[in-house]
């Protein structure tokens, strides 16, 4: 991805295959908007792309400080890409703190765009610079483009009569305009978006559009330093179809609605605001027309309990949360396991333990999801591997929850939640429906009568004459559903609940090899949002002739029936995870394989190079 080999031509656009840009500034500078607008436009222009928003937990940290720096990285290309890119080719630093925090990631020789207007003595001091890095030789290893963006922005919006604060705010749009010139992006969709966003204040909309255009014009007309010019990234060859950009949380919301439709059920979402899951609540609250009732509960416990109450009533109860919320919900999830009611729990994982890193990504709830309840308390655990896969796995969660009368935990994470990728929009008519039948026949009824195939109990709901019954968290008699403290009965019930969940393995796809041969020297096994990084790393290693394959697990519990056999066809198994070793423990204990972990617990996704280096090292030393 060394895409910035300089040419002498400044008049013509240089064709490049891919580029990684990082926009960085104060959390109040609008970097997330800038980045997402650039991404939307890029998607519309037919490139493949992947994004990585990275923002602090504070809504507005003190201006100019390093801990208030917000970043948005976008990787786009003329070919298939799967990660937001290891290191930026271009860094846009809106102030000294943004430079300080992000410079170490910029590729050697990369393009550095700085807003000199923000390099004041005060800001330099706040960022911890003794002297101005723009004025010494410390940036000599980069191609530096120094522009007083603040001044240019103020000039561009002068005629709109804005206050100074509002005028300065438009500098993100000026910067976006410049970058759109540099990479040949069209501005129209952003202009349209601004007009919508500021519909009540057209003057502000037009001022921002003027700033956007001014940044673009600056690129076209200003004399650029040697080695800095415009580029073209041709369209990627995507599979035929209708596309949009989608984030994991949007895809999850739509997947849940689609699952509800395929099941023929109304949905009830009980949720309590928590980062990074809240946008699922927001999205679904806007979609009540699509068969869902959304309820913002008083706390995480009430949220899951309301979902359970809704499932008891015959709707499908859903709750969405992140790690600390899942911790609070565990007792209630146990109730749903014991009463064998369907329930979908979405856990958008974030850095832990405790409050941890609320806005950063991690995969450290896996063992908690699989085992974290009192008693022998099995349930189904799924994990989505890309933003688009959140849709598919949310549909799966609904299917398995209703078919097996069990809670299902769907694990996503902060990276998937916020990161966007082009997504081929599915046609929901192409999905096989899985209609739910509530029991109505009183003949021979008791609440824990089971389907002999799936072991799921029958779902009889209040309002049905002749099926009046009581359920609860106390142990139930296998043959009547009444309370039972009988020792043998408890043993039998624990076994039957376990067998029911284990039986889900017969109803899910076999584990496939995502890339590479069916056997070889090394299998890299991943789960969740590491998909892109592992896939790209394995591709690199295979190009270098290494006998490496990649398998990505989406069904975490129960796991696919053939997984043990797949693992044993390889000499080595490597498990990269954004935690201190969780899937690797499951694989070692369930399959007695000598799997090794590669752990990154930095609140940031893996870089491709980190995994590729481990693959090479492991194979070199074996």
């Amino acid at each position: 991805m060394d895409t910035f080999a300089s040419t002498n031509s400044t008049s013509q656009r240089e064709l490049i295959e891919s580029v990684v840009i990082r926009f960085a500034g104060d959390s109040g500078d609008g970097m997330q908007l800038t980045g997402s607008q650039f991404s939307d436009t890029t998607a519309l222009m037919g490139n493949d792309l992947s994004t990585l928003p990275d923002f602090p937990a504070e809504i507005r940290a003190p201006a100019g400080t390093t801990f208030g720096v917000s970043g948005f990285q976008v990787h786009f290309a003329a070919h298939d890409i799967m990660t937001p890119g290891d290191a930026p080719d271009v860094l846009v630093a809106m102030n000294p703190a943004a430079l300080k925090v992000n410079l170490r990631d910029l590729k050697p020789g990369g393009l550095l765009v700085v807003n000199t207007g923000a390099f004041t003595a005060g800001n330099l001091k706040k960022a911890g610079y003794d002297k101005n890095p723009l004025e010494d030789s410390s940036l000599d290893g980069y191609r530096l483009l120094k522009i007083d963006i603040t001044k240019h922005t103020l000039q561009s919006v002068e005629s709109f009569g804005l206050g100074n604060k509002e005028a300065v705010r438009a500098k993100n749009m000026w910067t976006l305009g410049l970058m759109m010139w540099m990479f040949g992006r069209e501005r129209e969709s952003t202009a349209e978006w601004l007009r919508g966003k500021f519909a009540k204040n057209p003057n502000i909309a037009e001022a921002n559009i003027a700033a956007l255009n001014a940044g673009h014009v600056y690129g076209e007309t200003a004399e650029m330093p040697q080695g800095i010019h415009a580029y073209e990234v041709p369209k990627a060859r995507l599979q035929e179809g209708h596309y949009r950009n989608v984030t994991g949380n949007e895809a999850t919301a739509w997947g849940l609605l689609t699952g509800g439709k395929l099941a023929g059920l109304e949905l009830v979402l009980g949720s309590y605001p928590i980062t990074p899951a809240s946008t699922i609540l927001h999205t679904l609250s806007n979609l009540r027309a699509y068969g869902i009732t959304t309820f913002q509960a008083e706390d995480e416990i009430a949220a899951v309990c309301a979902a359970i109450g809704a499932s008891y009533a015959g709707s499908l109860g859903i709750t969405t949360t992140s790690g600390p919320g899942l911790a609070l919900k565990t007792e209630a999830i146990g109730l749903a396991v014991s009463t064998e009611l369907p329930l979908v729990v979405v856990d958008v994982q974030r850095g832990g333990p405790s409050t941890g890193l609320p806005t950063k990504t991690e995969q450290s709830d896996l063992l908690f999801a699989v085992y974290g309840r009192n008693g022998d308390c099995p349930l189904v655990v799924l994990a989505a591997s890309t933003p688009g896969d959140c849709f598919t796995m949310a549909v799966e969660a609904v299917r398995l929850a209703t078919k097996y009368m069990t809670p299902v935990i769907l694990l996503t994470d902060g990276f998937l939640a916020n990161s966007a990728e082009p997504w081929k929009i599915p046609d929901i008519n192409s999905f096989e429906p899985f209609p739910v039948k509530h029991r109505t026949d009183p003949a021979g009824f008791h609440p824990f009568l089971r389907d002999p195939q799936t072991l799921a109990r029958n779902w009889a709901i209040p309002g049905t004459p002749g099926l009046e019954h009581r359920i609860g968290g106390l142990e139930k008699n296998y043959d009547s559903g009444n309370i039972s403290y009988d020792p043998d009965n408890h043993h039998k019930m624990v076994k039957v609940r376990a067998a029911k969940v284990a039986g889900v393995a017969d109803d899910i796809p076999l584990q496939k090899i995502d890339q590479g041969d069916d056997s070889g020297d090394l299998l890299v096994v991943g789960w969740g949002s590491t998909y892109g990084a592992i896939s790209s790393a394995v591709l690199g290693a295979r190009k270098a002739g290494l006998k490496v394959s990649h398998a990505h697990i989406r069904y975490m519990h129960p796991m696919p029936k053939n997984l043990g056999e797949v693992l044993k066809r390889f000499k080595h198994v490597l498990v990269p995870e954004m935690n201190n070793g969780m899937l690797v423990k499951l694989l070692r204990s369930d399959y007695l394989v000598d799997a090794r972990g590669l752990n990154k617990i930095a609140g940031q996704p893996f870089k491709i190079a980190e995994i590729e280096a481990e693959i090479r090292g492991l194979l070199a030393s074996s």
Partner: protein, 350 residues
């Protein structure tokens, strides 16, 4: 919601009695409350299949197992949250929430706050025995100061809560009280709670003969009941005992006990019960013997007609679906989308 037709033929107490053996201690006040509810339901003309009892954890929360209706014995303190989901999913259901002083006011206090302020259309019966029974006798949030128990051997220094005052403070719109052994008035009060469109909160003083026997004898025992109980009736002066009554102490917002016929006090001086007066209800909820009688019956009934939460939510659903259920395929194709053609020659890449 349109009420369902009453069952035909009418049901009897037996129809509401499940086949499960009741497992409370002999002499427990819960038996009397169970009997009162089983007697009352046929009189309400409700259908068994439409009736749901939801409980938390504790002695009283075993209640649903003994009712031949739908029932859900949930987890400690969370019954209001489960009931909220149930009503959101099916507002037609007639839901009774069974809780206790520990379940509802301690571990589940948060949920009780919110179900009351949201005014879901359901009934809450809070069995107050001022003790933790099922865990063997620890003091509860309604135990009186100085209560000696296994976890407070030197006497409790934990200031108790008054459930009715708590409910009023949460914005409850129907707050009433009954006594386990006074079936006639308890049934009448529960019927009023059922009739109310919103959350009907009823605190029942319930004797625990094993761990807190006689906790309410000072106002429930036969020989003192008339002197120590004020039976509230809307529009009637507040009289009790032998010519006793309540009035506002002139020039204050405090209640005092007076005797009609003494010191020139006539019945016209007494407070007249106004169920719709929340401030008065607060005063009544905090009256304690021996200075004051205990107020029983309907302390407060709001006449503001606040739309129950689940009804409001369903109205919004209806609004959102005015033009039918949304089309998911169309939803996902809204906004910025683009098409990629099958023909690779149409693609300028590379």
């Amino acid at each position: 919601m349109t009420p369902l037709d009453p069952p035909n033929p009418p049901l009897t107490r037996k129809d509401f009695t499940s086949d499960q053996e009741v497992r409370w201690c002999p002499g427990c006040g819960d038996y009397a409350i169970l009997a009162a509810v089983q007697r009352m339901l046929p009189e309400l003309g409700v259908r068994r299949e439409n009736t749901v009892f939801i409980s938390g954890i504790g002695c009283s929360s075993r209640f649903p197992y003994y009712m031949n209706t739908y029932g859900f014995h949930t987890i400690h303190g969370r019954a209001p949250a489960i009931a909220t989901g149930l009503k959101l999913a099916n507002p037609q259901l007639d839901v009774w929430l069974i809780t206790g002083d520990g379940d509802g006011l301690s571990i589940g206090g948060n949920h009780l706050i919110h179900v009351l302020r949201r005014n879901l259309n359901l009934q809450i019966i809070l069995f107050n025995n001022r003790i933790y029974g099922l865990t063997k006798g620890q003091y509860s949030p309604t135990s009186l100061l100085g209560k000696r128990s296994p976890s407070s051997p030197m006497g409790s220094v934990d200031n108790p809560i008054a459930p009715a005052a708590f409910a009023l403070g949460c914005g409850a719109r129907f707050v009433a009280r009954g006594i386990d052994t006074d079936a006639k008035n308890l049934i009448a009060t529960l019927k009023r709670a059922h009739e109310f469109q919103g959350t009907g909160f009823v605190e029942v003083f319930q004797n625990c003969p094993v761990f807190n026997d006689g906790a309410f004898d000072h106002f429930t025992a036969k020989d003192v009941a008339a002197q120590q109980q004020l039976h509230l009736e809307h529009g009637k002066p507040m009289r009790f005992g032998d010519n006793k009554g309540l009035r506002l102490r002139p020039g204050s917002l405090d209640i005092e006990v007076v005797t009609v016929g003494e010191d020139g006090v006539t019945e016209a001086d007494l407070l007249v019960h106004d169920e719709t007066n929340r401030s008065q209800a607060f005063l009544l909820a905090n009256l304690d013997p021996p200075t004051f009688p205990v107020a029983v019956g309907v302390l407060f009934r709001s006449d503001e007609n606040l739309v129950p939460f689940e009804v409001g939510m369903h109205e919004q659903n209806k609004q959102a679906r005015a033009r039918g259920l949304g089309d998911l395929n169309a939803l996902m194709r809204k906004g910025h989308t683009w098409k990629v053609d099958a023909d690779p020659s149409a693609d300028p890449a590379g």
